[in-house]
Amino acid sequence: MSVPEGAPLLEMSGIVKTFPGVRALDGVDLVVRPGEVHCLLGQNGAGKSTLIKVLAGAHRPDEGSIRWAGDPVSLSTPDTSIALGISTIYQELDLVAGLTVAENIFLGHEMSRGGLVRRGETRRKATALLARLGHQEIRVDREVGTLPASGQQIVSMARALSHDTRLIVMDEPSAALDQQEVQTLFRVIRDLTTQGVAVVYISHRLEEIRQVGDRVTVLKDGRTVATDLAAKDTPTAELIRLMTGRDIEYVFPQRTPPDSSAATLLEVENLSLNKVFADVSFTVAAGEIVGLAGLVGSGRSEILESVYGARRPNGGTVRVDGNRLRAGSVGAAVKAGIGLAPEERKSQGLLLDQPIYQNITVSSMGRFARAGFLKGSSERASATEWAKALDVRPAGVERPVRTLSGGNQQKVVLARWLLRDCRVLLLDEPTRGVDVGARSEIYAAIRSLADRGMAVVVVSSEVEEVLGLADRVLVVREGRIVHSGPATEIDEHRVLDLVMEGSAA
């Protein structure tokens, strides 16, 4: 059944979905045409993921109707959705760690003859799909659990492409990717749309929406507040106002003028890690925020992890307050006051069924205990303070973390690390998956920690974030620091040039 020119491929109207205590969707409308890239915007918790899960057949809506190519359909299970030609890249990675890359890509629609899996064919097709995404280097026999987050994201994408689809839904696919990989993704998206495939694209990065999007639908508190906006030329201020209901002017907090007398807290000298990075030296003073810019895989995260002792460097020293730390010892780093909020926060250490406040306080429990007994009230009070500061929604710290939206879960983990009393704070991608409104709150929180005398190192794939937040910027390329200087004396283009130089796109 083909769709007549201009007619919508998908029409969702009046979709309602309630969870115990939350009305996640409260009458959402969404119309998608063939061959378009339809962007879905909204704050953390607005209901984007819930909506696409209804579309994928993973959630059953309480009310509302769905038409596919003009005909009413009921998407009661994931396979009905898949059979219609809808494939989905979920926000939470939905892979089976113990299966190989190829097995994951074709899970549920294995290539088989008489029930027997055709392994050669599977591997060949999987390799071709990965190549299409520019990732020939991922071996299809590798167990997915051993891939880093960005690799797993690529596998999820390959999996979505492996279906013969008419609509691909992507829930924050770029969160784990760097700029170069995002460009490859966009190329693939354009490829698909010229073949008439429609794409629903969710992202918190407005510049991506401008680049790849055709039309925008904005969700707020489970309702469609605007639809059919032009992705290219709706003013940013307008989009933000629609999403948040308020005007946000200053995204980045005011820099505190540098204090030249501030003591150097963290000194890293000639740090090297076999085949990953070499000769990395930098210092961070009390009250200073240093930003590390570079591609995913350039060694940024590994540098932080080595400073933290989670990896054993081959050479070089880390000093805090002039005292040299034992290499490769997390214990020594923690004792010296270093804290690391790691990159893959969601898979690492969220207690999904525990309430929000316990997740926030779990790493600083000692502070709330007397003789081993926890004082629940002060624990809750502190947690509430941070949850408010980072705008975790819905308000209240008693809900299990599992029931929060992706971005709000991120905020909870970040709050945990911000609450910890440390002197040197290492943040790896602190705002991944967080909406525009909450970002400025996170930046403000980081700045105020620095103002209280903390030394902060921030790694981010978003150059704008590094430039806006940090006092000083280090650019990392292929494991080496290729530039170091004040953030005010370099612009985005220059950073991108430095980052990309010599690397084939």
Binding site: A58, T77, P78, D79, S81, I82, A83, T88, Y90, D94, L95, V96, A97, G98, L99, T100, E103, L107, G108, H109, E110, S112, G115, L116, V117, R119, R123, E137, R139, D141, R142, E143, V144, G145, T146, L147, P148, A149, G151, K275, S301, E302, E305, Y308, G309, A310, R311, V330, G331, V334, P342, E343, E344, S347, Q348, G349, V362, S363, S364, R420
Partner: protein, 360 residues
Amino acid sequence: MTHQREAVTDGEKPDAGPDSGVVQVPLSGSGKARTGAAGFLLGSSVGRNLGLVVALFVLCLVGVATAGQQFASVDNGLTILRLASVIGVVSVGMTFVITGGGIDLSVGAIVALASVWSTTLATQSLARGNHWTLIILVALIVGMGCGLVNGLLIAYGRVVPFIATLAMLAAARGLAEIIAQRRTQIVSVPGFTDFFRHDVLGIPLLVIIFAVVAAIGWLVLNRTTFGRRTFAVGGNPEAARLAGINVQRHTVALYVIVGLCCGIAAVMIVARTTTGSSTHGTLYELDAIAAVVIGGTLLSGGRGTIVGTVLGVLIFTTLSNVFTQNNLSSSAQSVAKGLIIVVAVLLQQRLAARSNNGST
């Protein structure tokens, strides 16, 4: 202290550089250069199961050293295999449920019930009147029926597998006692007893059945879409569901498979002892789980190996044979068994931790 522990795992996580290649032996064994037909059963997984092979070898050495000719004879070898075959078939079924994220405590009771039901006077006279294979048919149907009930309770009734199969354990054993009135039922259907007296090229039929079940089990788990999906259902049920797999139906199928294996085991036990009894299969659940676990299947699901299970069964059977040959008590046997389980699992965790820092 919590943060420290967490931090360590945090740090080790992304360590998945291209040079950590040693560890990426995929479950299906498809990573190695294609093994020829000869390596069909063992070839692809010999590396992973090397520890078990060595353990079995050491046990045999101990057997030869302590019991000499008596242990090393062909007859004794066949005895070990014959003893291993019944519990082996049950363990193959158990490997499927455990890989799929479940557990079945009722296998022994199902074996008892199937053995009793297929040997009642009524069944036997029916078999005599029609065809002796009716006995087999009844045992298989009873086994699959019990498995179906387990599966439905677990998948659709959302009863925890441990509880559902515990209930089945009690109920099936009880039902077996009621049917048999606690008496041992002798099988006197000529066709049946004659058939199982056969052997093929000197190998007892029971052993052949075990080999066939294990081979089919291996094929299904490693080479079919059903097997592939079993790993997914056990490893990440939500991901499996989102991939369009009907997780509930799949779960039911897994319990029916283990039930079928119990039915086959019941036929084998009836053939070996020429009796049906409500005491058959006592504690099989523990023996099967132990064999599966030391074989390398993860109790939490998502990883399973039939070859490992077979080796696990052989290790336990050889162990008790060595003990019997040396006239040691069955209590000493149990102690040794316990030790083997703990050591094997500790070893496995070390290996798993090394090969697997990266998956959740």
